[in-house]
């Protein structure tokens, strides 16, 4: 026990005296003894065993890392526009950012959820939430591209999202901030009477992964923080932690930390499905956007939705319950058997572990301690399986290794603690550098964890790496957890601020990874399928350039007849059909972005010339030995000049405007019918 208190003392001193961490180096060198370096070493040309997908926090993106090497494989742009490849700037992708607030080009991404079949990762899709403008995005894991974003209406701060059920039936989410529903102009201090929280169920189409807001449950105005769904025997239930059951609206750090216990919501979603079928919902007018990439044209189509279906627990008995959880819980995690639910009370000295069977029994016996807004509160002791006594300070998140052990991060005492789920006994503790938020074990939240590694994602970096000025990369620590004791084997900096991550065996993704897009399947209405079909068309002040790229030239590469004030659409088709031959497109005076076009794909950049002259354009991706030669010129004439549209590649410039115009009209027509 004494050592525990010493640990607390050390942890607290880290937090409160963080400026002076002198002896951390020697601590590390002790841990890094033996073959740690070898364990994380993946030889040149060898592959990692796992993909780890980390959210980007305030970057709004996702990063894919290899484990155990910690090598960054890719940053996948999701909620933030990405001029590097034109995501959000190209005509095809800009609609991905449509919301009921207009175009929102950034967000705060928090929790990664990989699609599951039978409670295991299936490697098909990845879902992630946008916190600020409530949204859920879907990434296709065959292409590592964001293909869908669904806005969630009438919630504020979609932190508690997008937690998946064991057959990817639903993505469950809850509002972090309760707000007036529907929004209205009321004094903030009318919180208790006017503010509500919504828990949202988004269904996932099992074939295509398309998301749809199935229903929302109107809940008391708390802060809904994190959630997990049941698995195995508890499949059909969702568990969501809440804080601020005090229902305060100001100085939350004090006022929302007064009650000894907050409440965890327990939802029977199968029952909710039944009520939906019985029509026990009310409909409400609202506004939210659904943006979906058309698989054939690869153009994002955006649709405003105006109706949502609400279930009210008051009219739907046996659908929602609460259980008390010690003080301001954060994570809420379900073990691989589906029996144990861990409430990580971040301001509590102990952790409560609930038993699903006991919860069911308490519900059956109506062993309730009153109710809140008509929602029964299950008796704490009746639902409790046991308490992990004094495991550390500030428990946040728990994952599992499939061998009966749980691993919890402790923010304040800056450590990961391993404990036995059945006996609640503490087995090991290791410091992290510093103050971990989430942690991830490959498959660690599924029915079949792959308990080989654990990554702790830290919130504080300080002196961990060479300094980079005031702003530092966040730090992750990789532990080998295959033995009795956790062993630190690698430290690596990460991008943005990873909150949650999920890791999956590489062989569930690698065989399905697309090498390039089949150009024969390119149904983009403005595709140019062959160099002989390149052309330039004027339509009023709009000019459409049907351009192709293949090593090592753009066709056409000489274009005349642009005028100041034109709106020029460069529709660039990459004719390559080989792996890893993207072509880029950049033109001087472009105020938006560049393009990266993958083989077989068509992408469109708008350019609005404002100056008279001859402007160069070129390929931005070093594609070949003659990449530097892959360039061209665009001639811009004054407004009102009579220079005709002409184009060509290594020839006398052509001006077959009629043929080009006919082609353009056809493309425009099919683009319109495509919508």
């Amino acid at each position: 026990m004494k050592t525990h208190f010493l640990n607390y003392a050390a942890g607290l001193s880290l937090i409160f005296l963080m400026a002076s961490c002198g002896n951390q180096g020697s601590e590390t060198s002790q841990v890094l003894g033996g073959s740690a370096a070898e364990q994380a070493y993946v030889a040149p040309g060898e592959y990692d065993e796992f993909y780890a997908f980390m959210s980007g926090g305030y970057s709004g993106q996702i990063t894919a890392y290899g484990l155990p090497s910690g090598r960054l494989l890719k940053e996948i742009p999701v909620f933030s526009k990405y001029p590097e490849n034109g995501y959000g700037y190209s005509e095809e992708t800009k609609a991905m950012f449509n919301t009921s607030y207009g175009e929102v080009p950034w967000d705060d991404s928090h929790h990664i959820e990989l699609s599951q079949t039978d409670g295991e990762f299936d490697g098909r899709w990845l879902f992630v939430n946008g916190n600020n403008t409530p949204r859920i995005a879907r990434v296709d894991l065959t292409t590592f591209e964001t293909v869908e974003i669904l806005e969630i209406p009438d919630v504020a701060g979609l932190h508690c999202a997008p937690f998946i059920t064991e057959n990817s039936e639903y993505l469950v989410s809850g509002t972090r901030f309760s707000v007036p529903i529907p929004q209205k102009d009321v004094p903030i201090d009318t919180y208790k009477e006017n503010f509500k929280g919504l828990i949202n169920y988004v269904s996932v189409d099992p074939e295509h992964g398309h998301m749809e807001l199935a229903f929302q449950i109107e809940m008391p105005g708390f802060n809904y923080d994190l959630a997990r769904n049941g698995k195995g025997k508890s499949h059909g239930w969702s568990f969501l932690t809440t804080y601020n059951s005090e229902q305060e609206h100001t100085l939350l750090e004090v006022n929302a930390s007064q009650k000894d216990k907050d409440l965890m919501a327990v939802i029977n979603w199968k029952k909710a499905e039944q009520y939906m079928k019985e029509g026990k919902f009310t409909e409400r007018q609202t506004s939210y956007f659904h943006n979906l990439m058309n698989e054939e044209t690869t153009i994002v189509e955006s649709e405003e939705k105006t109706l949502t279906k609400i279930l009210d627990p008051k009219n739907c008995p046996d659908m929602v319950y609460f259980i008390p959880v010690p003080k301001s819980p954060h994570g809420c995690d379900v073990d691989p058997t589906g029996e144990y639910i861990v409430g990580n009370g971040k301001l509590s000295a102990d952790m409560s572990v609930y038993s699903f069977d006991k919860i069911m029994k308490a519900i059956e016996e109506k062993n309730f301690d009153g109710e809140f807004d008509g929602i029964p509160i299950i008796n704490y002791e009746a639902a409790l399986d046991g308490i992990v006594k004094k495991p550390g300070l500030g428990p946040l998140h728990t994952e599992f290794d499939g061998r009966g052990n749980a691993y919890t991060t402790f923010f304040i005492s800056s450590e990961v603690v391993k404990w036995d789920v059945e006996s609640k006994e503490i087995l090991d503790r290791q410091p992290t550098f510093y103050s971990p938020g989430h942690l991830v074990i490959p498959g660690g939240e599924t029915r079949k964890p792959d308990g080989k590694y654990l990554v702790a994602m830290n919130k504080i970096t300080k002196d961990r790496y060479l300094p980079t000025g005031p702003e530092l990369a966040h730090s992750a620590q990789l532990f080998d957890i295959s033995g009795d004791k956790m062993k630190l084997i690698l430290d690596f900096p990460t991008k943005g601020e990873p909150h949650y991550a999920q890791a999956i065996a590489a062989d569930k993704i690698q065989p399905n990874s697309v090498k390039f897009y089949d150009i024969e399947q390119n149904k983009h209405p403005h595709a140019t399928l062959g160099e002989s079909k390149t052309k330039v068309v004027r339509d009023g002040n709009e000019v459409h350039v049907y351009m192709t790229a293949i090593r090592s030239h753009l066709a056409p590469d000489n274009i005349e007849g642009f005028k100041v004030g034109d709106k020029v659409y460069f529709h660039l088709t990459n004719l390559e059909q080989d792996w890893d031959v993207p072509h880029g497109f950049a033109i001087q005076g472009a105020t938006n972005a560049e393009l990266l076009v993958m083989p077989g794909q068509t992408r469109t950049l708008v350019w609005e010339p404002k100056k008279v002259g001859v402007f160069a354009f070129y390929c931005t991706d070093f594609c070949s030995a003659l990449h530097q030669e892959m360039s061209g010129y665009a001639r811009v004439s004054p407004k009102g000049s009579d220079v005709p549209i002409k184009w060509g590649l290594n020839e006398k410039l052509r001006e077959n405007e009629q043929a080009a115009h006919d082609f353009y009209e056809k493309a425009k027509k099919s683009a319109n019918t495509g919508k």
Binding site: I550, E576, Q577, D578, S624, A625, L626
Partner: protein, 181 residues
């Protein structure tokens, strides 16, 4: 003899020749297969990708549609299978010998024709090619291995040629045994 005719059918099931281009940037190499009636590769777009590489040194595009041999060689192969069946009906040593001689001559001619094509691709270069190396020609080996700039080129007969050879031998064997009996 029947076996000879059947194994001649093997030229439709397997490529006659395989040319492999190995370079650091192409893990596994680019494999081009020459068939009696087509040119294909280990991947769907191999011809396009080889053409893209070849254009830097001014080699002509490989366009299977413009190679007349790919159209009439299969007809010749079918004709030889037909002749084989006829010789089977005649069932005389001279018939088998005739068939053997024809197919042997055709085989040699085929290889010579293939050599001419390789010579033409390797030597007949576009004078405006972006990459010109003084004194360098790019003829792949007919049989063997060779360094061509960054590529290590390997060229050997494939299973189809094996069946062609087997067929020729079986034709001769048919003649031999017929004569002995």
């Amino acid at each position: 003899m029947l076996l000879g005719v059947l194994s001649l059918g093997g030229v439709f099931l397997f490529p006659l020749w395989q040319i492999t281009l190995d370079a650091a940037q192409f893990p596994g190499g680019l494999k081009m297969h020459i068939w009696v009636n087509k040119i294909s590769g280990s991947e769907k777009n191999i011809i396009q990708n080889i053409n893209i590489l070849n254009h830097y040194i001014g080699m002509q595009y490989i366009e299977p549609d413009s190679i007349a041999e790919l159209k009439y060689f299969p007809i010749v192969a079918y004709a030889m299978m037909g002749l084989g069946l006829i010789s089977l009906v005649i069932n005389k040593a001279w018939a088998y010998l005739t068939w053997f001689i024809i197919i042997a001559i055709l085989g040699v001619l085929g290889i010579y024709d293939f050599y001419l094509w390789l010579y033409d691709y390797g030597h007949n270069l576009d004078p405006k090619a972006p990459i010109k190396v003084e004194g360098m020609t790019y003829m792949p080996p007919l049989f063997g291995e060779k360094d061509l700039l960054n590529f290590y080129v390997t060229s050997y007969p494939h299973l189809g040629s094996g069946f062609l050879g087997l067929s020729t031998l079986l034709g001769f064997a048919a003649f031999w045994f017929k004569r002995k009996s």
